[in-house]
Amino acid sequence: MQALNRFLLFAGAALAATATLVDPSWAQEAPAAAAGAITAPELTVNKGDNTWMLMSTVIVLLMTIPGLALFYGGMVRSKNMLSLLTQVMAIQCIALIVWFCWGYSIAFTTGPEGFDQYFGGLSKAFLANVAIGAKVETFSVGVAIHELIFICFQATFCAITTALAIGAFAERVKFSAIVAFAILWPTVVYAPLVHMVWFWPGPSAIATAPDAPVASGLIWGFGALDFAGGTVVHINAGIAGLVGALLLGRRIGYGKEPMPPHSLTLTMVGAALLWVGWFGFNGGSNLEANEYAGLAMANTFIATAGAGVSWMLIEWLFKGKPSLLGLVSGVVAGLVAVTPASGFAGPMGALVLGLLAGVVCFFFCTAVKSALGYDDTLDVFGIHAVAGILGAILTGILVDPALGGAGVVDYTSCAKDGDITTCDTAAYDMMTQLIAQTKAVLVAIAWSAIGSLAVYIVIAVIFGLRVSEEKEREGLDISEHGERAYNM
């Protein structure tokens, strides 16, 4: 038996928030029926793990502000620069408040009877029942970090996912609609999807009751793997963005007037900050500073590099010149694609994934987008949804230990050898895993599309989604914010 002091049975960055803390009786009742009940070790916090998570959390913040804000802002016309920066910063602030007040509880607590697969309850709303020293279990039996750190880490995910989506309808959306979106979308769409993908009872609960049914989110229950948010973050944001872009309609003059990015310099700076922050995003999703955080780091380097190079080469081949925007788009596509695979694929598998992501997203952002005629301003669908889907599906293949992947931990095996802290790797079957991954992708797409549509309809009725033609022509900086980005 391997000394696997490591993560997950099937899901990605989830915690034993419930069974081990809120409801310890769940873990203990089942084995009590059997003779010689297995007892879970006491949760121990390691300062190294805590430190890594504190660090990861702040560099994920850096991804959104200023990373994503500059990446997006540089791609719009100068008359809309400040609108993007304001929208991203406002979403960062609002989504954080939403997460602390009720988002976290909806995502990571046991839900109402019959609906627990879809969303959690309000037992931790406004951080009730979260003591300052409360612990949540990581992916190793008995290993924990402090819950407040986990809440902060997940809060930065909530903010960046919400901010990612709005790039699809940039340059024409009302700021009031953005504010409403930042409250409603994380509540109705994001937090429940987190619950579906990452809510599980934790290692100790399963290890101590290997034969009991596992109360988890719907997608976790499929056995689907999503290490750092391919479904939760990227498919979710990409689909929400596309639905919004279709509802708002194309920008005035789209396809007729030139709309070149006003500062690819800032876009490059933003993309570079995204890459740096992504080590916190993927590495932090391991929740422990161990070898699998190292694997996530290696994959976040190599897949990203592969996608940057492949987009550059294919653009050079088909369009004649290797552009900076193409190169950084490839980098972001690689980061997205490796997100669900980052703790599962081996580095060479991740390189293949990255190379594919650059080519597939190039095809979507050029050929498919112009053929279908939708105006996804900043290619949130073409990059985040498409690379997210590609990564989510291929994670099911690349996790195979025979391909250098990490395999998945079978927590039901932990206690069999008498040492509950060591667990076996589950048997891998490609078809089973691919079916689970595909189901996860389909549920994520459907949930995001329907939930986001509902959110947009509510906003459209209350505030309206789109600015007037006059305001759009003048630019949102002046018409919505009364400022201009550059006074030169």
Binding site: P258, M259, P260, K321, S323, S329, S370
Partner: protein, 112 residues
């Protein structure tokens, strides 16, 4: 008095200015302009969205000179701004009715 208006390639400015300075021309005005003549623009591609950029960046020089110097000025600009490629630009010469130096109130040739 004549006004010489020259549209030239931006990187030729310093050579033209130096040659005019050496022949005793004491001032000129430069503006950044865009336009097109026989030189075609170029295509810019951003993630597959292609834009034809018709207008090419050029510099516009305006030089007021005494009538007797105008041919020499035109010759100097022609020589210095020439690369032999399409897009070298054009020179226009028009008469000036009146010139005033604001500081002193001097007029016409004395003001040049």
């Amino acid at each position: 008095m004549k006004l010489v208006i020259a549209i030239i390639k931006p990187f030729k400015l310093e050579e033209v200015r130096k040659a005019l300075d050496e022949m005793g021309i004491e001032g000129l005005t430069v503006s950044e302009v865009k336009g097109y003549g026989r030189q075609k623009g170029h295509t810019e591609i951003y993630r597959g969205a292609e834009y034809e950029v018709t207008f090419v960046p050029k510099l516009k020089l305006e030089i007021a000179v005494p009538s007797e110097s105008v041919n020499k000025v035109v010759d100097v600009i022609t020589a210095m701004a020439k690369t032999g490629q399409i897009g070298d630009g054009k020179i226009f010469v028009t008469p000036i009715e009146q010139t005033v130096r604001i500081r002193t109130g001097e007029t016409d040739d004395a003001a040049l």
